[in-house]
């Protein structure tokens, strides 16, 4: 079974991408939140739990772009920069953009 890096960029409040991705995401996979989807990485009273077994990443420059750079992230999310993003693409077997 291949390990997939899933890329999500639309806000879960506006689009169903994150929900669709979660259906087919399996342990060993990673999910990288970028664009408006970085909001899903925030810690908060209403934040949805991010499943264990899957590794969650958020693109740090998009957190800054969205004015969310100073906010507290969920503990299970790793912040990555562009070189880190490149490494992830090489590390996982496949990329799926949602």
């Amino acid at each position: 079974m291949k390990r997939i890096l899933h890329l999500i960029h639309r806000d879960p409040l506006a689009a169903g991408d994150l929900a669709a991705c979660r259906r087919v995401c399996r342990p060993g996979d990673g999910v990288l939140l970028s664009g408006a989807a970085v909001s899903a990485a925030l810690a908060g009273p209403n934040s949805e739990a991010l499943e264990p077994g899957i590794t969650w990443y958020v693109l740090s420059s998009d957190l800054a772009l969205y004015g969310l750079g100073a906010r507290i992230l969920q503990k299970t999310v790793d912040s990555v920069d562009y070189p880190g993003f490149v490494d992830l693409v090489c590390e996982y077997d496949l990329c799926q953009s949602w």
Binding site: L7, S34, A36, L65, P83, V86, V89, C90, C95, S97
Partner: protein, 138 residues
């Protein structure tokens, strides 16, 4: 360990699908490509598909203070020899024509310098030559 992976899989085929106005996505594709090249990865091709073909539209007039992916891609390509290709079918439908297409359609050419237009075969060639394929949707 990350370095080891980066060494093992160093050829990337990059498809860009988001319109140049979608700043987050357009910037991601560009910054990712620059970071990949800086890390020593080869980029077999950058292929612009769907609404991203407008990245190669010459006639767009963008306010001077705005992030303009057109210019940035051209600079990156000039510095690194990147091959920037717009999908011919997607480009024609959206009115982006190189001089040959323009002559056929009896329209003016609207292709920005730094980009070229080719078929989907150019994308498949790039995919088959690469170790990893990544698509930027937004």
């Amino acid at each position: 360990m990350l370095l080891e992976y980066a060494m093992r899989a160093s050829k990337l085929a990059i498809m860009v699908c988001c319109a140049p106005e979608a700043r987050a996505g357009a910037r991601s594709a560009l910054e990712f490509t620059a970071a990949a090249l800086a890390r020593g990865c080869a980029v077999t091709r950058v292929f612009f598909y769907h609404d991203a073909v407008a990245t190669g539209l010459a006639t767009a007039v963008v306010p001077a203070d705005e992030f303009d992916p057109r210019e940035r891609w051209r600079e990156l390509a000039a510095a690194t020899g990147l091959d920037l290709v717009l999908c011919v079918g997607a480009a024609q439908r959206r009115g982006i024509l190189d001089s040959a297409l323009a002559a056929d359609a009896e329209h003016p050419s609207t292709l920005a310098p730094g980009f070229r237009i080719a078929g989907l075969g150019a994308w498949l060639d790039a995919v088959l030559e690469a170790d990893r394929v990544i698509r930027f949707e937004g």
